[in-house]
Symmetry: D2
Subunit: 417 residues, 4 copies
């Protein structure tokens, strides 16, 4: 297997390949095949980008049809048929049934770009500069989003101080502290030193933060806090949206409507680059072109995105995600947590984390991940000191493959303990 061109010519910034030192050729559903013909179960899911499975046949056929018919491919934000069809499908099949009335902004096709758009718009709407973000958050790597992001190594890469964001302790960090009351005190105490924010950015589940699930009550109180003080509530649903947590939008379980929702990853249906911001119509005061990007109109992504939504609805992916989530939870509780009392499990839907932090061995989770790969399971780490092994299979994974992955995981943990 020839990995030399990567080692010689690809920048040292490459990272996943270091954990998965093979060359992949094909992918289907929840399985990869490498150049040697070896198959791997996928519990990584393109960091959440292929919820409906690798190379989903339904979506694939739509893409090939569109390409074959010479449908317009690149169009910036001109009007096109695929964009219209995506909009109609998203509004009619996703938003309306849930009672939401968002307008859609098509952003440069990276999650960070959607968060940069949300930042700009919240500041424009409120005329304020400060923004609240949670400790443990990950919102992207460009300078605006990076200021929201909390992990130290990402922040250090900025090379300049990151300003205009106040980080709020996540509710799990200091259980004795009511974080909503804390935020309220910050902006009502005339001696806090903290400027009232334009926005509060939240994730309902901090994925990179270590699969930290926010409670419904806390989410509702965030909504009330923002309503009370005229603050824009932004929910970053980039990783845990698109059914990952069990519902299409991860905040549905709390019965709330954020003012802005950012989506990327699986919104592109087939792993196609795409990012959108859903905007409460009252906030849509953008001037034309005030935020833009050349690839905000990649028609192939619109085709895949629409097909992805159709597939998701047709195959009851929400319900299936919940059902499979119970399988994962049950298996881990019975077969893995029982291995050692220091193991901790957190998660929801089909995103789960097994935390090895209590072992006090910073390398343990890394060794588990490497053992998994040797045993033909692709899985990654997350969280503080990367101590969490994150299970995030495609939502459409077959039960059999899911169990196979879980068994490999168990075996690998046993090997490492």
């Amino acid at each position: 297997m020839n990995t030399k061109p990567f080692e010689q010519y690809e920048s040292e910034v490459r990272s996943y390949c270091r954990h998965f030192p093979t060359v992949f050729v094909k992918a289907k559903g929840a399985e990869f095949t490498d150049e040697n013909g070896e198959k791997y179960v996928d519990f990584f899911c393109g960091a959440g980008a292929v919820n409906y499975g690798h190379n989903n046949d339904y979506i694939k056929s739509k893409l090939i049809d569109y390409l074959s018919a010479d449908g317009i491919l690149h169009a910036l934000d001109m009007y096109t048929v695929p964009k219209r069809e995506f909009i109609e499908t998203f509004e009619n099949k996703i938003l309306k049934p849930r009672g939401y009335d968002y307008k859609i902004q098509f952003c440069g096709p990276t999650g960070t770009n959607a968060n940069e758009a949300a930042l700009k718009l919240a500041r424009k709407v409120t005329g304020r500069q400060n923004v609240f973000a949670m400790m443990g958050a990950f919102h992207g790597m460009t300078l605006g989003s990076l200021a929201l992001t909390t992990d130290m190594s990402s922040r250090a890469g900025a090379g300049v101080p990151l300003h205009d964001v106040t980080h709020i302790p996540a509710p799990y960090m200091f259980p004795e502290l009511d974080t909503i009351a804390y935020m309220e005190r910050l902006i009502t105490d005339d001696h806090s030193g903290i400027e009232k924010p334009a926005a509060l950015f939240i994730e309902t589940i901090q994925a990179e933060g270590g699969i930290m699930v926010m409670s419904e009550d806390w989410l509702r109180r965030c909504r009330e806090f923002c309503d009370k003080y005229g603050i824009v509530l932004v929910c970053d649903d980039i990783q845990v949206g698109c059914c990952r947590s069990g519902e299409f939008f991860s905040f549905e379980r709390a019965g709330i409507k954020p003012d802005i929702v950012t989506m990327s990853k699986s919104i592109g249906g087939y792993g196609m680059p795409m990012a959108i911001a859903l905007i409460d119509p009252k906030l849509d005061i953008w001037k034309p072109g005030e935020h833009n990007g050349t690839f905000r109109g990649n028609q192939l992504s619109f085709v895949a995105a629409k097909a992805g939504l159709e597939y998701m609805l047709e195959h009851n992916v929400e319900a299936e995600t919940k059902r499979k989530g119970e399988i994962v939870k049950g298996y881990i509780e019975k077969e893995i947590l029982t291995l050692d009392s220091r193991l901790e499990l957190r998660g929801r839907g089909l995103i789960w984390g097994i935390d090895f932090e209590a072992f006090g061995d910073d390398e343990l989770s890394e060794r588990v991940i490497d053992a998994c790969f040797k045993n033909k399971l692709v899985i990654e780490g997350a969280g503080r000191k990367n101590s969490v092994v994150k299970l995030m299979p495609p939502l459409v994974i077959e039960d059999e493959l899911l169990l196979k992955g879980l068994e490999i995981l168990k075996k690998s943990i046993v090997e490492c303990l």
Copy 2:
């Protein structure tokens, strides 16, 4: 034609559709077709993203083949066959023949993301925070790149002050001022108040700045200036690279090698989202994952990118671009500039701007653009007060269609004068 879903559900931020109020269905080469079956000549070229033509048949066949064979589609920065093949093609067919030895960083697939990467790396390498960028520059819309970008309306969208960049007068702004000597004075005068920069960002042709072509001499002196003071020279070749200016890299004409080159738009071959940073190996001190993004490994883009390079080489696109550039220049000089002495022409290769600024009528260029559209030519504005009409057809445009477009342009200008 149904544009209602856009008006009702798409954010007010949409912009090009306002100049081109139709719904596009197909595109081929240098022509669009809308839902009514009307055809339009394309002098816009996806803002430079489809240099090898819309829906180029050669690239298309590679995409369909890859999709049909279930080649892995989404892979972050894992090793894959398409990435390997792209790397090998790019190194062997593009870089080596030109004597360059860059390493390649695959960035989130937007030009702004590549510039954010270049910013981070230059700051990391030098340990400095300040960066020099030229007045008239456009480098993107996320907060790091936006600090480099100079147009006021884009900057105003930030909602926060943009720091850590010193803007240098472009050489055309104050002809009496030697801008290289100016920069040198800034960093050698111990009372300039300007911190020595990590990097100097340049475009060889400022496209958004109004098709302002930098001289070879100036480009060489930038290189010498950076060498002399240990400053990273970053060339943003996102819009004018990929043969647009007549050579694959726009800086080749000056015989220089920037330390970092950022590319996007047409590097994706088929209008596919893709962005890369080419890095002098000495500077490649990234830590794994220090800059990342979910779609930095879109395999379809690698397939299209490789096919695009092959097509470009096979069809002598560089030479063809120069040849067609002469046609454009000759036509405009003879047929258009003669219409009014206030018209000014600037450009190179197949990027040209006709400047209406001297008319003192801020709406004139807009009217020309609207007239063009009515006459079935898609073309956009650029530059100060948007006073420049920018001609940027696909490089593979047939001579006939090129002339047709030029005639429509002439006719539209005549209508507006």
Copy 3:
């Protein structure tokens, strides 16, 4: 009484005169005399600048002698006899007996300048940019110190965002939160988003914050926290130093040694402008002139400062302060708190605050202050919403005058309730 020149020519920024609308002529000890010959008891003490009494006779005679002898008056940081004598007195009579070994930096003669010096030095020593400051803190009004200061109206005056400071909840704000553990978590959690600070700025008693007294235990834990993580502990002793809290340095009660101590106000002995930073010798890595200011060498201030220290020692001001503090506390507890259960008392030494916040009437404390003035007591407010009436008489006030002041205060409160 002619106040017209002030109203006509002095900027609207003037403030105290609005509460005390008379023209003062003389001052002695703890009494003012206005142009009408009316006398006022002083519970304000020049915001802490005349601890040893207005126009203290001992100091006065030294000043007149020095002036009469044509001692050099202005000398920047050249060597002079008065500076040498101040240094020797301060080192031998103040520092050595307490076991401290600080070096002295003479700053521009404002407290804010000393804090700017401390900020610069802490950042220089550690190479870090972020700084921790407490919510409720006041450290000055120039842009560096203002970033530390927390009151909203002062901050709003900046006109630019204030950066590079993380504000930490004061221990009284969220009693359930261990603020030392909180700070520790911020810098050890790799996902807090908070950069490790160069310094922690504290006041042992937040005066402007509302006479909030930090516990000895908390102060000691701040010292341990800074030791553990290599953070510079800066104690701003500008208002509560010089015996105000009962000991010369307010932090003595906790048995700690901050790395930098900033002093101003009463260090000038006679209300003379002066400010110093006391620096742990290990941190004294300043380059000559790296922080400077024209009036850092006002010799009259050195003369007054030395005489002030001599007077203070001779008259047992520390012990007297404690004794009088008990008088104040006893009187208020017995005569004032008994007036209404909503009244709250806080303080130490001769700085006390009566908090009217629980009345929910934002104007009440202001009315009390105005009533006091009518009854010939000069006193000011502090704290959140300015709800605290702050008692801060000169430390040398006679018992009789102290009681007179307290009686006026009681009477005025009774009038307002």
Copy 4:
């Protein structure tokens, strides 16, 4: 002579004492006396703080009288008799005869504090954040003023990036560049990347920048530029005001009225700490206390300041300054410039600089300064690489002493060449 206490206990930040290694005891007029009884001619003048001479007898008597009578000494911004008298004198004797109608803000008694006040007010009045300052400028060492200041070593001391200021080339830096047109282009070109400023800060003579005298024409064009674009013109007259340049305000020669004038140094008459901002009444929109400081009401400074103005008027200091300036100029041109053609002279009134830069020997000016001191002349350096020897005697220096100083200077230069 005992300098040990300084070396042992004073911070390494001390600087002038390193050039003048003696201990000063007395000062009178333009002469110092050290502990050994040696006398030194003063061409340094407390960096401009004792224009009316050291220990001026007229002012001294007023100070002693005031102290003896127990006049109130410290009063913050309460109304007092000395402040009223200063205001009346300044308005009636200085401002009205010149046709100015400024209001007076009393700032913390350092020049930098007055500039911080001006910064805040200009930003408040305009609602803008950016500020223009000139390369070569010195405006102070606290973080707001330091962002305006240009010398690298001062800026490096900040320890954080200094933001919100655009530095404009001084007119002498690029003679071919019209700096007023340059500023105009920056704010009218919609692609300059430079935000329209709240204020333009100028010095009419850059003292620290190397005795660079701005032309009357340039000053007038600054005024017109600010008028045209609604920008606040701030003139920092801290070093060259109070008659230093020949007129009381240094900008009088250009016939302009800045919107804000900052003064310190000699405004305190006797070397007493004091600083004021003169504000066009239309701009005086401060809220009470929005900028403050404990020593903004040092009554002894008001007494000295008033007496200083009286002395200045009584003794025709403006005319005398001009007359003596001619002596200095004539002497240097005839006796010193003739020594070597590489010497350059610049100046006005009684501030002159001899520039040694053309010698290409960075230490030469330092050696001259040290030789002067050995020959009993106190004088300091300024400008780029400190290559300028700055002559700034007290304005009241006797002709004889002036000549003596000039002769020492010549002799010292001869020794060093």
